[in-house]
């Protein structure tokens, strides 16, 4: 007999084996909708069309957002999944176009796929107006795929142009004279999914928006910014950093949802000594099979394409065993066309599809309708992604269930063991530093190409950066000296022959990148680009490189030509490169300096690093199964770092020998490396951690955390101001780890950090907490 979702939930609760692995079971109560009237000034024709579309009233957050936009107030809207976010901006913008045919709007999405999805949705709404207004509203995507023949019409007659920041940067702004109509009449700029614009990408995008505003000013327009964000700690701050304007925060959703159960599940330990747990993929298979067998619609999120395949195969087998058609289980990966999505959506509605297994492609705002259960196999990296994935389950007033199945990675283990970090207010901040010297230099070049700089002009109005620069003029002078700009009269003009935007990649920090070339097939294919600092770690000879969930073996890294040749493989291990780093503090920006005490500080540093060797590490068990040498030249990185220093005599205070202290420091460094990303909404590659028993700079035992981007992007400053949270989180992680004396999930493998590391780290963190 089939069970209902309530019965399934009930049965889970009575299942002792299951419950022994549950670290948290939260019940989020149902919420009734809160409605509001349409703002009074909305155009009648627009209202008629919306009624025809079945939209008779608005949720409160929609009404507020629309009202802000109609009154030309910049805003950021923080919306849960399926709360009708797009109406928040589509309604005021369509209103503006209906009333003034000349009015224009620009939509920015982080990816091409999202932009295309949005245009499809827009066109469906616009069709409703075909009878009520005398002209047609035109919305187009404009990106690298737009045919040349279509571009002219888009430039002159597109009311709503939907694009991505990269295209705005290289294709639109440098050619703004071809977009006179758009820039003269630009009333709105929509920036959706702003939580993606963080770190170096965000720092670049903030500068692209500075350029956009500069061009608008030239044409005499002042667009209103409408930003949308998933749940993060600082949506308003991030939106203000990006747009350079103060924004209204709209974060009280009026959308209804049913009751939701959210379960954290940690697979059982099978080897206590090594801290090894049962495979989370197998656990996910088992749990999901039970649901689909009972015809409860379930979506499973996996972190890699490979895991999607494994889960898909297993679930299809389950269906066949039960004598049901395997077609009821579908895979979903990035790059699906709207038509295929519609088909899945329809299948879910008609009950023809019972299960969807997906990579995180689905989390990015693309809609395939709602299901009853979502299972998240492995922490997606951020709380906001987790919330978005969990939000795929839950329709209207029905009960829904989300289960997070933790992998054994340190961050997963931290989250599953410390659920309050997740369920209380999100600690993740989207951090950018738009005055990062390199980003600034890059975009001042682009801006000078677009329009000459006035002698007293400042690039961006609130110019106070961590780089220590307080004026645009220094950079302009430097560029003049380099022969890139020419000062004539009271203006700086672009003088080089080149087109600067072309060589500036918004998604990476360094100017020089290594191109990764897939040689699996005779037809070579470029699959990606990474900067030099990452390249020495990730695409050295014989490395296993992961790209979109696929594994590649690096046959050769040609350092001179900046090219890495790879071919696809399927192996059970990954490679972990060891970096020999040295750090020199150049300038202290801020410090809590006291002579013999516990101090913390941040400032500018130069890091020299050279990749020396790599380990082959087995998935799941983190077992070391081999190693090799890396031969690459030394790299120098000017960046920002945060540091924490202990009193010079800490080992005496704590009755440790130097070696034990060293092991303890290694242990907390390992913890920081894995926990810091939780607070900065980044990934482990954004930062590097270096423990030193005696720092040559302070002559004290210290831990340095530096940013892996030239010039830094503001993370060190953030760490300086919120390090207490990280100490507490690291302490919690150690306390809750199931291992006896250290494991890869906490301080690192015992073989590397020593047997006493966990114990020493515990007491170091304890003393840090109280200082």
């Amino acid at each position: 007999m089939k069970l209902t979702l309530e019965q399934i939930i009930d049965r889970l609760r009575r299942n002792e084996a299951f419950m022994s692995c549950v670290t948290a079971w939260q019940e989020i109560p149902a919420k009734d909708p809160e409605y509001a009237e349409f703002p009074a000034q909305l155009d009648e024709r627009l209202l008629t069309a919306l009624h025809k579309h079945g939209i008779h009233k608005l949720y409160t957050h929609q009404a507020k957002a629309i009202d802000q936009a109609l009154n030309k107030k910049d805003s950021v809207i923080v919306t849960p999944t399926a709360s009708g976010k797009t109406l928040c901006y589509n309604i005021p913008i369509l209103h503006s176009v209906i009333q003034t045919q000349e009015s224009r709007a620009l939509y920015l999405f982080p990816t091409k796929a999202l932009a295309q999805d949005q245009v499809h949705e827009l066109q469906r709404i616009i069709e409703l107006f075909s009878e009520t207004i005398p002209f047609s509203i035109k919305s187009y995507t404009f990106d690298g795929d737009t045919p040349v023949s279509a571009r002219k019409a888009i430039k002159s007659s597109g009311h709503i142009v939907v694009t991505n920041p990269d295209m705005l940067h290289t294709g639109i702004l440098p050619h703004h004279t071809q977009w006179v109509k758009l820039f003269e009449n630009l009333h709105y700029v929509v920036i959706d999914e702003i939580h993606h614009y963080r770190g170096i990408f965000g720092s670049h995008v903030a500068n692209v928006l500075r350029r956009l505003k500069r061009v608008c000013q030239f044409y005499g327009s002042r667009p209103t910014f409408i930003c949308c964000s998933a749940t993060i700690a600082n949506p308003a701050e991030l939106a203000e950093q990006l747009t350079g304007e103060s924004v209204t925060l709209i974060d009280k959703s009026g959308a209804p949802h049913g009751k939701k159960h959210f379960i954290f599940y940690n697979p059982p330990v099978v080897n206590k000594e090594l801290g090894i747990r049962r495979s989370y993929i197998k656990e996910t298979q088992r749990i999901a099979a039970d649901f689909v067998a009972n015809d409860v619609q379930t979506i499973v999120f996996a972190r890699s394409r490979m895991n999607v395949e494994i889960l898909l195969t297993y679930l299809k087998d389950t269906m066949r065993r039960l004598g049901k058609p395997a077609i009821k289980i579908r895979g979903y990966r990035g790059g699906y066309l709207p038509l295929e999505r519609r088909e899945i959506e329809k299948g879910l509605r008609d009950g023809l599809i019972m299960g969807v297994v997906s990579t995180n492609a689905l989390e990015l705002g693309i809609d395939i309708g709602q299901l009853q259960i979502s299972i998240i196999a492995g922490y997606p990296g951020t709380i906001s992604s987790t919330l978005q994935q969990s939000g795929r389950a839950g329709r209207r007033q029905e009960t829904s269930l989300s289960i997070f199945v933790s992998s054994s990675s340190p961050l997963d283990q931290y989250i599953v063991n410390n659920p309050h970090y997740f369920f209380e207010k999100s600690p993740e901040s989207g951090i950018i530093d738009k005055d990062n010297l390199l980003a600034l230099l890059s975009h001042i070049k682009c801006a000078a190409f677009e329009l000459p700089f006035a002698a007293d002009e400042r690039f961006g109005s609130n110019f106070t950066g961590s780089s220590g620069l307080d004026s645009t003029q220094e950079i302009l002078l430097y560029l003049e000296e380099s022969g890139v700009l020419h000062r004539s009269g009271d203006k700086w003009h672009w003088m080089a022959e080149t087109y600067p935007a072309e060589s500036i990649n918004l998604r990476s920090a360094a100017e020089e990148n290594v191109v990764i070339i897939d040689k699996t097939k005779p037809q070579e294919k470029v699959i990606g680009e990474i900067d030099l600092f990452a390249a020495q770690l990730m695409v050295h000879d014989e490395a296993i490189y992961l790209h979109e969930g696929k594994q590649y073996y690096v046959d050769k890294l040609d350092w001179q030509r900046r090219q890495a040749y790879v071919h696809g493989v399927q192996v059970d291990h990954y490679t972990d490169a060891q970096l020999k780093s040295d750090l020199k503090v150049l300038e202290v920006f801020q410090s809590t300096d006291t002579e013999n005490d516990f101090t913390r500080g941040y400032g500018e540093v130069v890091v020299t690093s050279v990749a020396t060797m790599y380990k082959k590490v087995k998935f799941q068990t983190h077992e070391n199964i081999g190693w090799g040498k890396i031969h690459l030249p030394e790299l120098e990185l000017h960046t920002m770092a945060f540091w924490y220093a202990f009193p010079p005599n800490i080992h005496q205070i704590m009755q440790l020998n130097k070696e034990e202290l060293g092991d303890g420091l290694k242990g907390i460094a390992h913890l920081f490396k894995n926990i810091v990303p939780l607070f900065i909404m980044g990934d482990r590659n954004d930062i590097a951690v270096l423990p030193m028993v005696r720092s040559p700079f302070s002559e004290k035992p210290s831990v340095y955390i530096w940013e892996q981007y030239p010039g830094g992007i503001g993370l060190s400053k953030k760490l300086f101001h919120s390090f207490d949270n990280i100490i507490a989180a690291a302490h919690d992680a150690l306390e809750t780890c199931a291992c006896s004396a250290g494991c890869p999930s906490c301080v690192g493998p015992q073989l590397e950090v020593g047997e006493k590391s966990k114990k020493v780290a515990q007491s170091l963190l304890q003393i840090m907490k109280s200082n």
């Binding site: 440098p174 050619h175 703004h176 004279t177 071809q178 006179v180 010297l437 390199l438 230099l441 000078a448 190409f449 677009e450 329009l451 000459p452 220590g468 620069l469 307080d470 220094e474 950079i475 002078l477 430097y478 003049e480 000296e481 380099s482 022969g483 890139v484 020419h486 004539s488 009269g489 009271d490 203006k491 003009h493 672009w494 003088m495 080089a496 022959e497 080149t498 087109y499 600067p500 072309e502 920006f589 000017h638 030239p710 010039g711």
Partner: protein, 420 residues
Amino acid sequence: MNHTVSAIKEKLRSFYKTDELAYASRKATSSSADLSRLGLQRINNEYGSLLVREKRFPLDFGHGGRALADFLLLSHKQFSYINKQDFSPSLLSEDFVFLDTETTGLAGGSGTYIFLAGCGYFTNDVFIVKQFLLTDHQNEYAFLYHVATLLKSFKGIISYNGKSYDVPLLKTRFILNRLAEDFERFIHIDLLHCSRRLWKKHLKECNLGNIEKKLLGFVRQDDIASADIPGKFVAYLQTGTVELLSPVYKHNCIDIMSMVSIAILAAAAFDCSQNEKIAAHTDKRSLFKVFMALQEYDAAFQLAEKSYEDNDVHLLLDYSYALKKRGNFDKAVKVWEHLIAQSSFIEPAYLELAKYFEHRECTFSKALDIIDRVQKRREILDELGVAGEMLGAEEWQHRKKRVLAKISCSEKKNSIGKTA
């Protein structure tokens, strides 16, 4: 955190270790005596200053084997041919200005500046090449203002690749300087488009240099390479030495003179009897298409009739389609029969004949004969493995069945008629 300028520059340098161009100190601007020695004149207007160089050429001046005066003899009809576009009879040679610009880069976009605008035009029995030179960015408005004033007296622009390069760039500069000029109002003859139409088939490369070499019969001596032009302007800005620009304005002047000759040459190409050398390099099919587009059917058909001797298959096919469309089947059949008599297999001609015999003349046996010949030829090509991507075997089979049915039907009719 007080950073001195030098500290920041030091920091910036640490990111960019490449040796970038050192910035030399500027010399004083050239004196007016220096300028006039170079044929330049400084003009000051209320917006700033610019340099102008004016060169006058008598009408009998020869360039590329043509006298400039020949351009004045061109009729509105000839301009229509050149541009594949109908012009009104009121259009005169003097209505056009030849335009060629030199720029600070080839990338395009709003950071590319025009520093030299060369304009050539006929007035009072003389050809004038007037070149405006930007002396510094702050004088861009003054510079463009003069260009705009000159352009106002003309109805049309003649350029070489100006449709996709010079004019869009000029538009960009005008917008950036808030100067109003409606470039849409100009008739624009882009000789690159015309050159490609007429000569690409035989010359392959249609850049100015190749046209000069192959058709105008000269090769430039000591000409500056296009890639070196932006550097000259940078050097001029850095040093203030105008002489550095002399290779650029000489180059620009030759560009303009060559445009005049190419326009004359292109017009001549439409009259094949006039010049055998040009006729040999010209793609007749393009001429035919231009004539057809301009509804000059007599000229088109005359040209096509003469092309039997060249045996330009595509032109003959185009011709036959045009004849068919106008109901002139006698001549069309003549063309098709000429084509199927050739050793190469020109399938469309067979197809047209098969259709003609079947549907129009209703001589089914003739149609069948054509179909059989086609099938035989296709078989041979197939065996040789050179059939390639030939499609339509089924269509031919289908056509054959239908014709056979028609034959047997009419035979029946005939036999019924006999017995009756």
